[in-house]
Structures are given as C-alpha cells and as structure tokens.
Amino acid sequence: MDPKTAGALVFWGLAVFTVVPAFALLVVRDVIRCSMLLLATLSGMAGLFVVLGADFLGFVQVLVYIGGILILLMYGVMLTERDPVLLERRTDRALVAPALIAAIFLALPSFYVALELAGPRTSGPDGKLTWPTQTQLPEPVTSSRGIGELLMTDYVLPFEVVSLLLLAALIGAAYVARMGGDER
C-alpha cells in the first residue's frame, strides 16, 4: 500500500469518526449520550489537527475542549432540571428549516473542497492534460517553539489583548457567581 493511499485511509477514517457522531448527536435523545458523541467529534478533530502537523493544537484541543469545555457542558446538563416536554421528539416537518440551513452551510466548504480536488490542470510534454505532481510538504517540526516565538514577536498585540479579554471574563464570572440571583 503506497503512502498516498494509506494517508488517505487515515484521513477518511478520522473524518468519518468526526462527522458521523456530529450527525448522530442531532438525533439521539439522551443528552448525556449526545455529550459522548460530542466527545467523539472533538477527539476526531484533535486527530485531524495532529495529522495536519499541528500537534500542539491537537493536544490543546484535547486539553481545553474535551478536558474543560465538555466537562462543564456535562455539568450543566446533569445539574439542571430537564423538562420532559422538551425531550419529546418534534414532528418531522419541524426539521425541514434546520435541514435547509444546514445544507446551505455545508454547501460552501463542499464547493471549496471540490475546487481543491479539481485543482489546476497542466499540459504534459506529450500535450495530454495531466495532474500536477504533488509537492512534498515541508518537514513538520514541533510547533510549540514556532508558536511561542510568533506569539512573542509578530502576534504579541493579539496575545496581550486576548489575555485582557480573559481577565475580563474571569472577573465577570466571579461577579456573576457572587451575586447569585438576589440583588438583580
């Protein structure tokens, strides 16, 4: 099996592992099972990041999204009261509008992917149209050093702005949690 086929197999495996749970969690009724399907989707995305050579981002995805956001999401689900009325499956007619919107949102990246796959075609030496030879990607290096250097040099302003935003979010969360509901 040549590397190209193997690589494609790995990619498609990860892609299926990412997309199928994402669709499934629209249909499954139990919300905790939906969180587990979301876990599968997020890990699939982390895997795709690693495959693209962004291993740092992949691990950040696991650490932050799965280890932080998903857990808090499950907290919110488990600790809030669940109205049984909301859990009843809606009629199929109510799914038409969301499906339409989803189709529109899917159309744009699909179009881009189709363009990418088609690619520019060049003429070979014998006049026949051929696909261009695929160039090798540069050797992937550990991205943490590059990210660190970029954050401290080219992107230091966004870095500082984001930290200010995080500070504001922390203070806001502390304030909201403190006041509760009595003194609104």
């Binding site: 099996m1 590397p3 190209k4 193997a6 690589g7 494609a8 197999l9 790995v10 990619f11 139990d30 905790i32 099972r33 587990m36 876990l39 795709l48 690693v50 495959v51 693209l52 050579g53 291993d55 740092f56 691990f59 950040v60 696991v62 650490l63 799965i66 280890g67 932080g68 998903l70 857990i71 499950m74 907290y75 488990m78 600790l79 990418e116 695929q134 990607l137 050797e139 992937p140 550990t142 943490s144």
Partner: protein, 413 residues
C-alpha cells in the same frame, strides 16, 4: 491538501526514536505508513500493559503491607507463603469470578464505557514515559513525543469524563455526588498541575521527556528539584496536584468510604471495579515516573561513576534507578494515605485556588527569571541545597534505623 498532509502522518508522530521506531526499522517490513500504528501499538501496548499489570500486583500488595505496618498489624501473611505476596493474585481471581451486576435502571452503554475511558486515559500516559536509559540508540520508552509533557497534561484530562460518566450511568444519586466532586477536584487541580509541569519544561527548554531527563545528567545536585528554590516549590506543587488528580488520599473525597459507600464506583463490581482499581494504581506509578523524570533526575543515579559505566552495567543500574524512584514516590503516596485525614471539599478547593495556583505561578515566574539570570550558575545554589537535603535525609534514615534495630522506647508506659 489534507490528504497530502495525511501522507506525512508518520513524520511528526515517529520523528523521534523510541521502541516503536526501533521496531519499525528493524522489522524488515519496510516503512509503510499504515504499519506505523502497528509498531506504536506493539511498542506501547504490549510491554506497558504487562508492566502495568505486574506493577498493579506489586502495588496493591505493597499498599496492604504499608497500611498494615502503619497501623501496627501485619497485613497479608498467608497467601503464597512469604508475607502473602500472592494475595493480589488471589484477589484478582476473586474479582474475575464475580458476577457482573449492572443496575437495571442504569444506562448500560455509558456504564460500560466509563471504566474504559478512565483506564484508557491512564494507560495513555505510559506512551511517553521512559523506563530507563537509552539502549544504544533506542530510547527505552514506547514513543518519545516531542510534546511529551503537554501530551501528559492532555491525556490525563480525559479521566474526569470517565469518572463523571461512571457516576451518572450508575443511576445512583450518591454515585453522582461522588462523580461531581471528583470532576470538580480533578478539573480544578489541572491548573496548578499544568503550571508546575511547565516550570520543568522552562528549565529544560523542551517538552520531550527524554530531553528533560538528559538535562539532569551528572551529579545529583543537577536534578531539577535542587536547581532552584522555585523548582523545589514547583515539585511540591506537582506532587500535591498529582495526588489530587489521582483522587488519592488525602484527596479521596470522590471515593470517600465513610460517606458515599464507594463514591462514583459504588455500582461497579467484579472486573469493572478492578479496571478502576488498576487505573488508580497505574496512575500512581505514572505519577512516580513523571515526578522522577521531571524533577528527580530520571534514570540517573546522581553518581557519575555509575552513570558513565560501560553500557552493560549502566543500563540495568539506570533501569533500577528509574523504577526505584517511581516506586519510592508510590510509597510516599501510600504513606500519606494512611497518615493524613481526608480533606473536606471546600478545603480542597481552597487549597487549589488560593494556595497552589499562586505558588505555582510564583514558581513559574521565578523559574523563568532564574533561568535567565542564573542559568548555568545554578550549581552554586544546588550544591548546598542538595547537600542539606541529603544530610537531613541521612539523619532521618539513621534515626529510623536506630529505632528499628534498637527497639522502641515507650516514654509514657
């Protein structure tokens, strides 16, 4: 382009050598990308799984013996003859033979998945942990990821989800309480844990566990725990946070035996429970190895005479040193369990947010400044500090020896 990138899948994953790379090059089957996961699995799964099981046997027996002797009793003495060494095997057989009970109202799918998630995340830690010095050019770890330390932090965060699932899927409000407490504790302590991990990374300049270890070569005052006061603080923070992450006493509120029966794993019996159990003990060992690698010099004994000996001597000594340090930290964890009372949940949160986070941040800032200002001249601090620590340790050991040999003196008899 994604497919093109996927062709380079092998490159970032197997860029550094480890047992998996050695298998890949020496198998004679060539460098097929799709075979690479086979090598990683063979290098990671088989030896590590074997080692985890063996260590689990040993650690559970050790725990029972340590707890027994600290409580003035003997512990297992019958099974297997000498001090009941086969007790754990007998317990394992018992757990295997138990009926697999799943509560009728429990969510079966999640009930089954939860212990798998917990064990998988703990097992995944062992992918990057070294077991000894490199043999030739093969590193004695399953796979030396360039982002090893970061990978450790990421994988251990998956455990909390397994715990929440276990509590939820049991359909038992006490299990849910235990699970919520566990998740709170684990998620909160990940913050100072990450910061403490980063201090060692700052000192070494690399995320790779192999690089961090070889930066501590030489005499034992090169170990990071002695290198600067900030790194010593970071080591303490790391140790406490690891205790809390493993839900190990005194942070074992999630499995508080006197309050919640068994916390989040109340409804689990037989083999499912033993998966949680094994995960906890493997996590203890992983904590030992991580502490040893990051702060205690890894496989270096700290005596250059032994470290620079010919390979046939140095490698077994290195492996023994590594294992010894791991088991020593495991022993300290057991020691703490049977010495300290359990900490209440609000005290746990106070400790994390008001004590460990500020200390960890001070340690990180201090380490960064120390590396810039002092850097290689750290030996001027490290040698006195290491000497003082060694002296105190020797005095304590001498007193212990005197007590053991000379018998106890009851002062209030």
């Amino acid at each position: 382009m994604l497919i093109l990138a996927a062709q380079n899948l092998a490159a970032p994953l197997l860029a550094s050598d480890g047992i998996s790379d050695w298998l890949r090059t020496n198998s004679g089957l060539g460098h097929h990308v799709l075979l690479d996961p086979v090598w990683i699995l063979a290098a990671a799964v088989l030896p590590v799984l074997t080692w985890i099981t063996l260590h689990g046997f040993f650690a559970i027996w050790l725990e029972r013996k340590v707890s027994a002797h600290m409580q003035c009793r003997l512990g297992p003495m019958d099974v297997g003859g000498w001090h009941g060494w086969a007790q754990t095997i007998a317990d394992g057989v018992k757990l295997l033979a138990k009926e697999d009970i799943i509560p009728r109202a429990a969510d079966v799918v999640l009930f089954v998945i939860a212990p798998i998630l917990v064990f998988a995340s703990t097992f995944g830690l062992f992918l990057v942990l070294p077991f000894g010095p490199p043999i030739g050019d093969m590193k004695l770890q399953a796979h030396d990821l360039p982002l090893g330390v970061f990978y450790l932090a990421a994988i251990s965060s998956l455990e909390a989800i397994g715990v929440i699932l276990a509590g939820w899927a049991s359909n038992n409000k006490w299990s849910l309480f235990g699970a919520m407490r566990a998740a709170t504790q684990v998620v909160s302590y990940e913050i100072p844990l990450g910061i403490a991990l980063i201090t060692a990374v700052v000192a070494a300049g690399s995320f790779s566990l192999h690089d961090i270890t070889i930066a501590q070569a030489g005499w034992f005052w090169n170990w990071y725990v002695f290198r600067s006061p900030f790194l010593a603080i970071a080591f303490l923070v790391l140790f406490v946070c690891n205790l809390a992450e493993a839900k190990r006493a005194p942070f074992d509120l999630p499995e508080a035996e006197s309050e919640l029966v068994s916390g989040f794993h109340t409804e689990y019996s037989g083999m499912r429970f033993s998966i949680f159990f094994l995960a906890e003990y493997s996590a203890m060992y992983a904590i030992g190895i991580v502490s040893a690698v990051l702060f205690l010099g890894g496989w270096y004994t700290g005596i250059p005479l032994l470290d620079n000996a010919p390979a046939a001597v140095a490698i077994p000594i290195g492996i023994a040193a590594m294992m010894g340090k791991g088991v020593a930290v495991v022993f300290v964890q057991m020691w703490l369990r049977w010495t300290l009372p359990r900490v209440r949940l609000d005290h746990i949160m106070y400790l994390c947010l008001k004590v460990l986070v500020p200390f960890a941040m001070v340690a990180l800032l201090g380490t960064a400044l120390w590396e810039m200002a002092v850097g290689d001249r750290s030996c001027y601090f490290a040698i006195p500090f290491a000497g003082a620590t060694a002296l105190v340790t020797l005095i304590a050991l001498a007193r212990l020896l005197a007590l053991t040999v000379g018998g106890r003196r009851y002062q209030y008899a």
